[in-house]
Subunit: 402 residues, 4 copies
């Protein structure tokens, strides 16, 4: 009989942690660090309740994975004990490589997808745990023949999404993101090694795709969230710029953070030493840095850092078309004059970019519906379901209110 | 017509912020700091979802205060516009003086109740806002003739408690703490300047008192929460001890934290300069310090700090009676030998204490019930209601697992 | 100061009933009857929890109307006390004319829309209440100049829909129907006497339209619900057929039900006498009739009635295209032979039809969005919002399983 | 592999129905009848949302039973497949013997506990199902050696209570009744064939006992609910009185209801014929009767019946002590004169009684707590837990408002 530890979770009531490998991984400092990484990064500036951590999210995803595996087994899908543990490990650790403040600093602190760092950390853990994570890694990399196991970890209907939509909805209060995860999981099945959804779950899938799209616009790509995230990235970039310019002596910055400011780390650099430094970083390193930067003599980094600490955000505009170059030019000049800064400096304070949102991309992997006659059809073939393949792109532009 | 800003809140949906003084206070850095102070301190080690901030709590209490004032006005209780604003300011700012990690560090970082610091900060803000907080301060100090306004801020049924029970319940997932705050507020009334509850709300009051008691045992005084909080206090105390012993050069600690480690601040010391230092501190200063301490050469502070970062807590036992002195002595000796530390050192690693829980103390201010004949009777006079005046005391004892 | 009675409601907590006209109307037997009319008719055969009444729904809609009026007044829209009461009366009474089991028997027991009967009953009440309902009736008929008042009662975003989506979602457990009614109401405004929604509510509106569409397919047009509703209609029609055929002596049917079986009532027949008979009918008359019919010697009515009482529904198929005439013919013949019934009889047991669902019909009244520059634009003009103007039509076909 | 049908439930999301015996029993007319029996009888007059049925409740209890059995099995408690099915059947059918409107008519329509009728119906079903219910009946009667199985069906912590507290709370909106049923079930265990609760569930048990007590006073024994239930009983009693007096020709009453009015049925009379009549009765027979009685020439039955249909309840007073005989006498005389009725008549309109509420009776079966050292202790031994053994008795008195 397997033993479990039980954790409290406000969404599922309880999450059961099987003793052994999974429990040991949770106690590992690489994983405990996720307690101090905000799931939604800067979104807490807009949704004050959204202070939840990557730790809580990944435990939630583990919980859903246990449910999904149990449902599939009951439908006579063959999943061994080893595979069960491995797919649970894969979902548990899939976010290990997130930077502080998650997506807000992704691609900036390290110039790569967080999944690459997650994989490097999983491989390091595999060393430490004597090879016990090999199967999990194989599933994570989609190299394992039972493709549906990878799809449960990372796919159109993975346990990651099912947890984060509900959790982000719960903590932000944006009820549009709530998804019938229990119902969707009950409708999962496997045909030809592919994850499919039984026909009567089709409305729940439609709802899920819509919920995801609405969460993108209302939370993840909310204009103030975009603005605060951009400010955070510009702060790190400015710190790098300063450290290149002059022999900078950072005050009160953690050595680990300084390392990632002073060094551009490539995928090939992710050795044990670098990973240990990364795994020591969390939101508190960034917050401590902001406090230090806010006192810095460099006007640019001080303005941005104080802005985040005191919630004086830059002004941001969002529109469907690109911003006019005239408008950009005038704004830059205006800020340069007002702040008495150079054209190189103003890049960190006046800047634009774009965001795209495509809830369901039929050109990539499709959601497959299992018909009552055991045939399978991609969801995009139903005329009456709104899966909106249109990609929506929006342009933003930020500058200081003076 | 008054204008409002609307904030999202997962519990109430929306919180309305009147523009003007209240909105300006919320934008003040003293208040923005509360975003970075965990409402439940160390409780997030047990309840992983409980990462909510004092910022969200005090905005929630403001929301309930607006409701309570509206209900009382509808019952023809005279409350002027000025009093409405003042009582809202008082509830908004009542937690301004919380240390990082709230109650976990209260009485340790500063050797005083947080309300004393809140009051000092309110008085400083009153300077900055040209006297506009005077009425709020008078209500907060219970010097204002309309006593019920103070009772709404701080009393047996104040808006603070109504918010924190629901909020802490929502974020921990301990549903026992959920309270019918809307119902209780609807039943409030005022007789002879005292807050009273209309008779048909008596079951809701009973439920409220029970919810509070259950939250104490299940969350606020949960043994692992007590243990982690004690560890945090011992870390600060050990840092003070070290700084007294030798000329300590703290690495990566913020100057503001160092100030409170090196100086014992008394109530009379709370001048503008000290308050500014205090208002610059939040959870991230403590977390950065833990990381620094975990690398310290002092075994004691390193063990405790690493313990908190990696969630390797001390062992804790809780019981109804005092721990036997024999057991204490043996444990101390054992740890001294195993860690090769002195008797002075071991005080920081092997220690005990007690916790008491008295959900309703009839000897202090009573909850008054308004009968249908307009008479008032304290709730303790109903035989069939469980208001449990018994105080329950429990003893705890902590030591390292080795 | 206005006085209120407070009713409990599981969705909103409390509903406040202003004393006076509204309170008196609620106590009137025409309104009390709605306690015994199931909001979702036959849907409780599929969603066993969905036993809620028209009484609870209309009180809920009243609650939302009070909120909407308060919000609009705060935005300086002029609404007098008389208009407030009238629009509340209109929403309270808008479902007065529902037959037993609501939509399941609509157009069958009386061959007209329920709104026509509601209006007739409101006019009768206006007599009884000395003309106090005249303004409410004018709003209900959309004859009052302030068009937005009618739109709050009956329009794309009326309080009826906002309540029923949430209530039907709560009682069925189909969470897809949940709608942010508080949020939508907060975003309402009035421009040129038309109800509009402020721009930042656009996601909530999209969510609302989707929720409504999903509820249609999952609940209101669920195949077993359609089947049971059709069976109920066929029972009434068969009873009429029998009563025409022979001098039928119904056993245990209420006189009032017999009247509506034996007489085809036209709009012009809705005099006080007929309305009193109608207002005496509720679900229990139908259930009592089913028990009687189940014992009837006529095979057809007995089979259908026993089927409903014991939940032995007809078989139903639903498809996108019309059923083939061959299939229909064969099925009819098969049933005629097996049950030894005539071709006239089989019409009541083997039958088809269709259902359409168009969540948002831009060709009728549009939902208007209020832009930040105070201009107004219909929602259908946003390319990225899914308002799906496509009408979806489905065909059903029912026959006995033998 | 066992197959399941899935039902929607607003509280648990889904209830799984194993195909075979359980599924067949659910389709049986005796069970389908529960769709038309209101779980809370007359409580819907006060809590307008509380229209849920015994059908939904017993399916919910079945769901919890499946969870409880799974948890116990995981803790290595031996429960065979047969025992699992039997204990599920027992909980599913435990309310089969409820009269229309459940407790409101219990002891009146049949002068016995509803469990006696449930047992008789189970035995009749056992005949129809060829003895397949024998084990379930043995558990229901507490004759089976594994006592804990009976305790799951009927005991201090049975699945009946866990479902009805949550369900009644959900449908009334009285949140005080909500209980952590999932948590309590997770804490169940078995020692010496007795159901016990693991120590860390002690707060949940306390909460459960309090929730039950609060639901009694706020819902089950709410004064208007008591009044309406008493009126219903008096109507049936008056009908009996009338039918004894004179050769009554009831108009539009169902034969089955007439049978139970004209015959006093004893336990020994519960033969197949009588049970079939009983199983044909539901709320609609009573409602149809009320409509008929409201037109009756007997003033007493007409007044009471019209009162229920139009919600003109008698006046009711509740107090801690017995009502003074003077007051009773005066009221009776007053009503006799005003209505011109006899002293025998007035007994049906002016009457009193009492209600008691004892949430936890330690003198009967105790709730046993499993300590960490595997010892067992009754919950009443904890001084700090409020289990309130005091019985509270209240007296009521009803009379017509004239």
């Amino acid at each position: 009989m397997q033993h479990f530890k039980t954790l409290n979770d406000p969404i599922y009531g309880f999450v059961e942690i099987p003793e052994g490998l999974i429990s040991d991984l949770i106690e590992h400092p690489y994983y405990q660090r996720l307690r101090r990484v905000a799931q939604l990064g800067m979104a807490q500036y807009v949704y004050t309740g959204a202070t939840h951590s990557r730790f809580a999210h990944t435990l939630g995803a583990l919980h859903l994975m246990q449910q999904a595996v149990a449902i599939l087994k009951r439908k006579s899908i063959s999943i061994s004990e080893e595979e069960t543990e491995a797919v649970c490990v894969a979902i548990l650790l899939h976010d290990l490589g997130h930077s502080p403040f998650s997506h807000s600093l992704e691609h900036t602190l390290l110039k790569m997808e967080h999944e690459i760092v997650s994989l490097a950390l999983m491989e390091e853990l595999n060393q430490q745990f004597g090879g016990k994570l090999s199967l999990a890694i194989s599933i994570f990399k989609n190299e394992y023949p039972k493709k549906f196991l990878h799809q449960l970890v990372s796919g159109q209907l993975d346990m990651d999404r099912l947890d984060y939509l509900n959790r982000d909805s719960y903590y932000t209060g944006v009820s549009d993101g709530k998804v019938g995860s229990e119902r969707i999981i009950k409708m999962l099945n496997v045909i030809d090694n592919e994850l499919v959804v039984e026909f009567k779950g089709i409305y729940s899938i439609e709802k899920f795709l819509i919920a995801r799209r609405l969460m993108y616009w209302q939370v993840y790509l909310h204009k103030a969230v975009v603005c605060a995230s951009q400010m955070l990235c510009k702060i790190i970039e400015r710190a790098r710029w300063l450290s290149k310019k002059k022999q900078e002596r950072w005050k009160n910055l953690s050595d680990n953070l300084v390392f990632f400011i002073e060094n551009e780390v490539l995928e090939s650099d992710l050795n044990k030493n670098v990973l240990e430094k990364f795994a020591a970083l969390d939101d508190s390193d960034i917050l401590a840095a902001l406090k230090s930067f806010a006192q810095h003599q460099d006007k640019v980094i001080a303005l941005l850092s104080e802005g985040l600490l005191k919630r004086k955000l830059l002004k941001i505009e969002i529109q469907d078309n690109q911003f006019k170059s005239d408008f950009i030019k005038t704004t830059r000049l205006h800020i340069m004059q007002r702040l008495d800064i150079t054209s190189e400096d103003v890049d960190f304070l006046v800047f634009g970019g774009n965001q795209t949102n495509k809830a369901y991309d039929a050109s990539k992997q499709q959601i497959l519906i299992l018909l009552n006659d055991d045939k399978v059809k991609p969801i995009s073939e139903w005329r009456e379901h709104n899966i909106q393949p249109k990609e929506v792109k929006k342009y933003f532009f930020c500058w200081p209110k003076l």
